[in-house]
């Protein structure tokens, strides 16, 4: 049996939940498929307070924002949320197949919003496959979701926001952070996050990378090495740091498999951190009726993902004819918020990426 749905949202993270809510507010019926046991995406592990303005719940912690969105959706009769529901494919006839708690479901949505998020990038160095080397997000999941102390002594690779924030959270969980190393000559994350761990005694060393990791069955230590201005290791600058855990916070890449599979026109845009679907101003992909929002459309802060979700949800509902007047106001508000979030110096990368995307001429195809 094929289940008919108005709007299917794939991924129940910040973008997906906000997409579902905004579409529902305009009157549309929405189904959300989330592959995890609980919705919320990465919000469920984000114990720090969010930046932005009150429109993006600034000052609240990610976990609190996640809980609020989940509670709102649970009370919303227009939204059905399936957990342990992994979308397997989007077919040419518009049917979407889902593995839902070990059953095979077929769903036929009128509109699809892809909000599948991102995956952590890896780094190549000898010994990088040893147990004890994790993505920074994995360590965050262990300590902030499961409440398991993930390590005794950690070296963090990457001084972007994730590396800096997870270092701080590791200290809150009682883990020693031996240091943060960053290959770039500058700290990439917000400097307030850097200052916060620095004044707690964690050294941050820019122009450093991991030369190798060693250990028998599990990680026992790493050798770090300084980089010159051409990003080459400087012989003689090696230092060995004993540690049981190495966290890689070297960036995220969009989880865009479903966009590829659905036939969306894709583009590699470095500033958006990988291959992303080409989107129009309504966040619609080149396949008519399929939208994308959040990290899958380019890596950015969660605050922006939430606003993008709202934008995509509004666009999809409006295209079904729901509340055109109200939709127009909501779309306008979301666009203004995104412009505001991206207008400062820290938004320059994403602005450059979006500029490149706007120069790619997407050719619309029917779903």
């Amino acid at each position: 049996m094929i289940k008919e749905v108005e709007i299917l949202v794939i991924g129940g993270g910040p973008a997906g939940l906000c997409a579902a809510r905004s579409a529902s507010k305009l009157g549309a019926h929405v189904m959300v498929c989330e592959r995890d046991y609980v919705p919320g995406g990465q919000l469920v592990k984000q114990t720090h307070k969010f930046f932005g303005s009150e429109k993006q719940y600034a000052g609240d912690r990610g976990i609190q924002i996640g809980k609020m969105l989940i509670d709102e959706i649970a009370a919303d009769p227009n939204i059905e949320i399936l957990t342990e529901a992994t979308v397997l494919g989007i077919y040419e006839d518009g049917v979407v197949t889902v593995l839902y708690q070990n059953q095979h479901l077929k769903i036929h949505p009128k509109k699809i919003i892809i909000t599948t998020g991102a995956a952590e990038k890896f780094l190549s160095f000898p010994g990088n496959d040893l147990p004890g080397i994790y993505g920074a997000g994995a360590v965050q999941t262990l300590m902030n979701v499961a409440g398991v102390k993930p390590a005794e002594r950690v070296v963090m690779v990457g001084a972007g926001n994730i590396g800096l924030i997870v270092s701080y959270q590791l200290m809150q969980a009682g883990v020693e952070v031996a240091g943060v190393i960053e290959a770039a000559p500058k700290i990439g994350g917000y400097l307030v996050h850097a200052s916060k761990i620095r004044r707690a005694g964690v050294p941050i060393r820019t122009s450093y990378t991991v030369k190798e990791a060693f250990g028998t069955d599990c990680l026992e230590g790493v050798v770090i090495c300084r980089l010159d201005e051409k990003w080459q290791m400087i012989p003689g600058t090696e230092e060995t740091i004993p540690c049981d855990t190495l966290c890689l916070a070297v960036g995220l890449t969009p989880l865009a498999e479903l966009c590829w599979q659905a036939g969306c026109q894709m583009a590699f845009i470095r500033e958006l951190s990988g291959h992303v679907p080409i989107l129009d101003e309504n966040l619609e992909t080149t396949v008519s009726g399929i939208y994308a929002a959040g990290d899958v459309a380019g890596i950015e802060e969660a605050s922006a993902a939430m606003v993008e979700g709202r934008l995509a949800g509004c666009s999809a509902a409006a295209s079904l004819g729901y509340s055109p007047q109200e939709a127009k106001i909501m779309l306008q508000a979301a666009r203004e918020e995104l412009n505001e979030l991206r207008s400062g110096p820290t938004g320059s990368k994403i602005r450059a990426g979006l500029q490149k995307m706007s120069e790619k001429k997407g050719v619309k195809t029917a779903c």
Partner: protein, 103 residues
């Protein structure tokens, strides 16, 4: 080791149960993943790579990377980072690529 006190979080772990890991009893909670329970018990080496037999552990913890494959209740290639603990389940280190048994 489990975090008992945290400045921001409180943990609702669900019911405490026992499952089997390589024949030995390990405690876990019903709302946590097998990976979390094994880590809490100090088990970080989850298996070996199929070709070079190098030790393997958790990497992404959200079901993306497949570094944490183990055999659970006889079924191979289970991503234990996204599979919850159930009382009495058997979790085993997987040798090689695993074999699927058809009933």
């Amino acid at each position: 080791m489990r975090i008992e006190q945290h400045p921001v979080l409180q943990f609702d772990r669900g019911e405490k149960v026992t499952f089997s890991y390589n024949g030995q009893d390990v405690e876990g909670y019903t709302t946590e993943t097998i990976a979390a329970a094994l880590h809490a018990a100090g088990i970080r080496k989850l298996g070996t790579s199929p070709e070079l037999h190098r030790p393997r552990g958790l990497f992404c913890a959200i079901g993306n990377c497949s570094s944490c494959f183990m055999t659970v209740n006889g079924e191979p290639n289970v991503r234990i980072c996204v599979t919850r603990v159930e009382p009495g389940m058997t979790v085993e280190e997987q040798i090689g690529k695993g074999e699927i048994h058809y009933d």
